[in-house]
């Protein structure tokens, strides 16, 4: 690699300039206020974690992890998601007193980008985890809170698609028999390759009825009626249980008052391989990728030595800001320009302004080369220049 330009940043890393900073801060505050209203407590975890613990437990592909060595030679990772670190914290005995546990975070996560470099490798997620709560009401709470948080951020229209990885798995296994065969079909869904899925199904040594069931499976998307259609496709009891869960969830979402944001998609497969039950993605018009996702992960905490169920979601703050469209303009401060002999006057004036809650910049005018250019961005300019007299507004 050639020597980078002095202003260059590593691939995928970005500076956040004032306008974006304000936008993100405002969105973050609105969302975290809403999350706190639901009784979740915010925590922070380290940016660096061990590769062997968090790196292994997280579902992010190995080649997407940023790895480095510490002074003892341990491999570290920049945390690729927050769910695994929170599972680690929750499993430590500190937090085991109050189960179910409701935790929240707002943090940057790191994923190396493979292509083009236009995409961020560091981005902020705001999310929650509800640990030790097996009830369907916990799943409903996730979706209801997700909807409330998005509404609080100012987003008017969005759509949450809900699937069930347990149902998909049981359905595939009941027809295909082996995990190996099921994983091939799952991969087609993960790659969003419906054409490949159909061709593969046609090539399988199955009865024409089973083939038809698999092909009809792809169209299991839409309103609540989808669940009834799915019930016609399953044979074994296990698949029915998962569908029963989704039906119950659907009923509860009506009670929570968020049913209008929700649709079902039983073909939904996430890149997060730790999900075990319901999972969901949320979409907003104008943004080409999901703005958030979540689901139930009942086996992850076991990796940290505690057998507990859990569910949660994460929202991409950058994509949400994009969906909101209108960037926040930072509040323009007032400016006090002074000459050295009147500094004391200027400082007192600034102090009184600040005590009123105003934003004030103080600047010695003798070092400003172009006063017009300098003062352009301020809401008001006060001059303390020359001999005596009061602060004059310009």
């Amino acid at each position: 690699m050639t020597k980078p330009f002095m202003f260059e940043k590593p691939l995928g890393m970005r500076d956040t300039l004032p306008v974006l900073y304000e936008t993100k801060a405002s969105v973050r505050n609105k969302m975290s206020d809403e999350i706190k209203k639901w009784g979740y407590q915010f925590i922070e975890t380290p940016t660096l974690e061990y590769y062997e613990t968090i790196g292994e437990a997280s579902a992010i592909l190995d080649q997407q992890l940023f790895k480095l060595l510490d002074s003892q030679g341990h491999t570290l990772v920049l945390r690729p998601d927050m769910t695994a670190p929170i599972a680690r914290v929750a499993a430590s005995k500190l937090l085991k007193q109050q189960i179910p546990l409701r935790l929240a975070y707002s943090a940057n996560v790191y994923r190396a980008q493979q292509r083009e470099g236009g995409r961020p490798a560091e981005f902020e997620q705001i999310g929650i985890e509800c640990i030790g709560n097996k009830s369907i009401c916990a799943d409903a709470e996730m979706i209801a809170l997700l909807a409330d948080v998005l509404k609080a951020s100012g987003l008017q229209e969005f759509k949450i698609s809900i699937g069930h990885i347990g149902f998909l798995q049981e359905f595939f296994l009941s027809i295909l028999g082996t995990e190996k065969r099921a994983s091939v079909l799952r991969k087609f869904l993960y790659e969003k390759n419906y054409v490949g899925f159909r061709e593969h199904v046609k090539s399988l040594p199955l009865s024409s009825i089973d083939k038809q069931r698999l092909i009809e499976f792809i169209s299991l998307r839409g309103s609540e009626g989808t669940l009834t259609k799915a019930l016609d496709l399953v044979e074994n009891n296990k698949g029915q249980d998962s569908l029963g869960e989704l039906k119950e969830l659907s009923a509860q979402l009506k009670e929570f008052g968020v049913a209008q944001y929700v649709s079902f998609d039983l073909t939904l497969v996430s890149h997060m391989s730790y999900y075990t039950g319901t999972l969901f993605e949320v979409y907003a018009d104008q943004v080409g990728s999901p703005i958030g996702n979540g689901g139930r992960y009942d086996n992850l905490l076991e990796k940290f030595g505690w057998n507990a169920s859990a569910t949660g979601f994460a929202i991409r703050v950058d994509r949400l800001a994009e969906a909101l469209g209108e960037p926040m303009q930072p509040v323009a401060p007032e400016c006090i320009l002074f000459t050295p002999e009147r500094r004391m006057e200027a400082l007192d004036f600034a102090k009184s302004k600040r005590s009123e809650g105003k934003r004030v910049t103080i600047q010695d005018i003798t070092v400003v080369q172009n006063v017009d250019a300098f003062t352009r961005t301020f809401s008001e300019v006060h001059l303390f220049v020359g001999n005596g007299g009061n602060g004059k507004d310009e």
């Binding site: 790659e191 054409v195 490949g196 979409y283 943004v287 080409g288 990728s289 999901p290």
Partner: protein, 209 residues
């Protein structure tokens, strides 16, 4: 942009005519100037559709980023680009295949043979699967020239009739994958504009096969 308005990315060139014909057959009223217009954006108001005309290689890029909701793209491009889009339908037009070709009666050398292609990723993963260590040379066109002039021992390219290979005295050594055009959709559009996209898929599915 309201929900029912849909942007379709169309490939310019070879695939375009067949794709336009297919859409007409499916009952879409496309304007007559569609076929020979030099405009890059065409709106068909009565259908609530907007077409953008892109390089075939770029169609999936427009769709992945969501500036086009759906698009018509060759499977060759999808294999090469591995974009995050839904592959909804095999349109079964512009059929051809990706193949390895070279001068007749030649063997590739044991040490890092050179392979020229417009599809470096496809070529690289194909030879890796064969356990061959190769050096890929990316070209943008007239790939057949490479073995003739000694740039590469083999090429990876699309073959439709085999005429170009024949005229240049090349033979096919292996077939990599069948290629047809596919209807692709942006993952978010597929959810947000589900009804419209499903309707288009159904209309097209009916006339294929």
């Amino acid at each position: 942009m309201n929900n029912s308005f849909l942007t379709i990315a169309m490939p310019k060139g070879r695939i375009f005519e067949e794709a336009a014909e297919l859409l007409r057959k499916a009952g879409f009223r496309l304007p007559p100037e569609f076929d020979d217009s030099r405009k890059l954006i065409l709106e068909v108001e009565e259908e609530n559709l907007r077409f953008i005309l892109a390089k075939p290689m770029d169609v999936v890029t427009y769709v992945e980023h969501g500036v086009a909701d759906i698009g018509i793209a060759g499977k060759d491009v999808m294999l090469e680009e591995e974009r995050d889009v839904y592959e909804l339908l095999d349109l079964k037009i512009s059929a051809c295949y990706l193949a390895v070709a070279g001068l007749p009666g030649t063997k590739i050398s044991d040490i890092a043979p050179k392979i020229a292609s417009k599809y470096p990723n496809v070529a690289s993963s194909y030879f890796r699967e064969q356990g061959e260590q190769v050096e890929i040379i990316k070209l943008n066109g007239s790939i057949e020239l490479a073995p003739l002039i000694g740039l590469a021992e083999r090429i990876v390219d699309i073959v439709s009739t085999g005429q170009t290979l024949k005229e240049n005295g090349l033979v096919e050594y292996a077939k990599i994958a069948d290629v047809t055009s596919r209807l692709v959709a942006n993952p978010v559009s597929y959810r947000i504009k589900e009804a419209r996209i499903t309707e288009i898929v159904d209309r097209l599915a009916e006339i294929i096969e």
